[in-house]
Symmetry: C2
Subunit: 451 residues, 2 copies
């Protein structure tokens, strides 16, 4: 009891954690299991692709200075750090390119970066099988996404959900990996939630990816503390001053339990073909489709007119980005590079592309209209060339729930990301291990390939 | 630029940090300097008194497992940990008894626990003089309290300000101790703010004091990252999705600069004579005054009728506490122990007192009425004995800004807290050093006495 107890409230946090605590790997449906494998593979590629980003260098400089025990692997850096530190680094690396998976089921959450950065560290603490690992991963999705659903005003309130919900998700995932009983898992969730932070104000800065690392590290701390008997409120979601009330102007605590056990949130995960904010993806699909269909010479483009979900401007409306990180939140930049390169992957969001005169000239010809009736995965693009107007409409962006990337596309993206960092041979071994992860006896076998 | 920039907004964050970055020890007025000495002395006593609390044992268990470099002293534990870890432990220890200083200038903030836990760790990184240390401490007050003033709905929104504002305060204090220039200090403030968390839902649990430790550690990370060039939004307070908007339903960004340089927030700090939530203090003053004035035998008390600020019930309304931590937020428990023992210090808030039948019997005779017209430092108590009613009204609780504890009382409290932990001899040396702290050449001289 943290306060005069609101007796009428359903104890959803405790019920949720009791459910999660009881789950065994056999409870995971085949589709959830497979989404787990896809998620791990895609995420590892993003984490490896991010390891040489200057944002990570700053963090690693600090972490090497304070250096905990050599307990957990920092990917592709020949470095091991303490259990609270490696997740900071790996979580940041995996999110810094904004290329990691995105769950859009009512929330926009990059679940895997906080969750997997936490789980990979904890998997080096004691031997953990792949099946238990994938179950904990799925548990993290349940915790993070459902907590978001209890707080529908959360995103609009200005929070960066990967930091906030990520902290809850990583704590529950970590607690599940440690096999905590229901009361301790409830405390882990509470300790994770009470550290939840991250402001959208920091979009386009180095802090955005720090949020993912911070959330991962918060989750590990929460799980380790709860394991030792550290407590928290048992009503951290529904309480009068709990998560769904203070992080959101609308509270729906009961959403935590809605279809729990039948609807698995990991099955609604999305994967990114483009290395930028997910609301830009239908626009990029549309511009690339136009470019291909009409064999457009970018120099001849008079205007690009876009119509899409209001988040196109509220979230990705940066008009004149001056850094790569900012350009990932610029609909103008994204449409321009998609038209010039026919692509929107890592090279298109480097610092120098934000300053490229050809990109700047074209991005100034991009006009954006928002339309409440469109979904976040929908967009229309019209290109104007010598007065002629060519139009494409995207019903569901590539990689979203209703138009998922194929296993082959996920695999190709992984190889593309991983190969330059760990080489084709090791990347291939990682790929093979991850596709059979539920049969791996000790996840450290996989970690050894990532060092 | 993190977003389409709201051009009409005053860049208060940058102006604030430019001001703080320029300050030198000579700018600190004598009163602020002296409040700094008082604050350090009182805080060290609280930190030492907290070192044997079981809450800290759980945390230290985890920190020893992950153990960073032996860089910073964990007080009175014969233990040194990494720069991100020692502040977690010392911040928690100093806040766990709820005995640490409280700033009530528009916010209720235990500033010193996050700020000093951060500063004491950083003072072991490179030699720092006492005058620079006290200036950084005062800078932390400016940052934490003023950020709170930009967000007037913050407390009511359910946040535990020692976690949230503490993270901002510790980051700016830490950045000032590292002598960051204005742009880097602005980033430190941003990195600190974007980690700011802590829910009032966790009042009465172990998480409440974890918030203070977490904030301290967040601040150290923020300062160290900013020093290496890690960036954040430069409008973290005033931005459209910045602190004063997302942590509060009312935004007053201009408050960050109000009388900056003339009003020093550290001079409005308060110190606690009682080891519990500060809104209970006028009630305890009143009950002790009644007990003394009328030589009351607690067994004869028929009722204790209290009238006070609405926070008496909203913050400290726990009717049936079952642990020491919960009893620190129970007006009923506090009035009962004050009547029985004539005191409300550490022994009165141990677990066994919450379960003591005499306390339970008396706390059930306590009736509380709230009164909007009363200040947080005011209360009336009426004791009913054999039908007779005796009344006392407290105008300003002991230890608050308008009725401060004397230097002698602060010193006595420190000795009382420190002596059982480090012995009278060492405690005396600490006391003498702190009263002359601005003339100490290297703060490690003080730290050595705290190991």
């Amino acid at each position: 009891m943290s306060d005069a107890k609101p007796q009428h409230l359903m104890p959803v946090t405790q019920e949720f954690c009791a459910h999660i605590a009881k789950l065994t790997p056999g409870d995971l449906p085949a589709k959830a299991l497979h989404e787990g494998r896809r998620g791990v593979l895609d995420w590892l590629g993003c984490a490896l692709a991010g390891v040489h980003h200057p944002t990570l260098d700053h963090l690693i400089g600090v972490l090497q200075e304070v250096g905990g025990r050599a307990q957990a692997t920092v990917f592709a850096r020949s470095l091991r750090l303490g259990l609270l530190e490696a997740p900071l680094a790996n979580g940041l690396a995996a999110h810094v390119l904004d290329f990691d998976d995105t769950h859009m089921g009512g929330v926009v959450l990059h679940t895997s970066s906080p969750v997997l950065a936490a789980l990979f560290a904890l998997a080096e603490r004691r031997p953990v099988g792949g099946a238990a690992f994938l179950l904990a991963y799925a548990a993290g999705f349940e915790a993070g996404v459902r907590t978001g659903q209890t707080a529908p005003g959360h995103y609009k309130g200005g929070w960066h959900l990967t930091g906030t919900l990520g902290s809850v998700a990583a704590a529950v995932a970590g607690g599940k990996l440690l096999d905590l009983d229901a009361p301790r898992l409830t405390h882990a969730m509470g300790i994770g939630a009470t550290q939840a932070a991250g402001m959208q104000q920091n979009r386009g800065t180095m802090c955005k990816s720090l949020h993912a690392g911070r959330a991962a590290s918060n989750g590990v701390l929460a799980a380790l503390l709860a394991e030792r008997g550290f407590d928290s409120s048992s009503e951290i979601i529904e309480g009068r001053r709990g998560y769904c009330r203070i992080y959101s102007d609308v509270a729906k605590p009961e959403a935590l339990l809605d279809e729990l056990g039948t609807r698995w949130e990991i099955t609604r995960n999305g994967h990114k073909p483009y290395a930028c904010g997910v609301v830009l993806h239908p626009v990029i699909d549309a511009v690339i489709a136009l470019r291909t269909k009409y064999s457009i010479d970018p120099a001849t483009v008079e205007a690009i007119e876009l119509r899409g979900h209001p988040m196109l401007l509220s979230t990705t409306g940066v008009a004149e980005p001056t850094t790569g990180l900012q350009s990932k939140f610029s609909v103008y930049h994204s449409a321009a590079v998609a038209m010039i390169d026919g692509a929107a992957r890592i090279p298109q969001y480097r610092d120098q592309r934000a300053l490229d005169p050809a990109v700047i000239a074209l991005r100034r010809k991009v006009v954006v209209t928002t339309d409440d009736s469109l979904g976040k995965d929908q967009a229309e693009a019209v290109v104007v060339i010598r007065g002629a107007r060519h139009r494409v409409f995207i019903q569901h962006a590539t990689g979203t729930c209703d138009n998922p990337m194929s296993d082959e596309a996920i695999e190709a993206k992984f190889m593309d990301n991983a190969q330059p960092v760990i080489g084709a041979d090791r990347a291939g071994k990682v790929r093979d291990l991850v596709w059979g992860l539920d049969r791996v006896g000790d996840v450290r076998e996989l970690v050894a390939l990532l060092a």
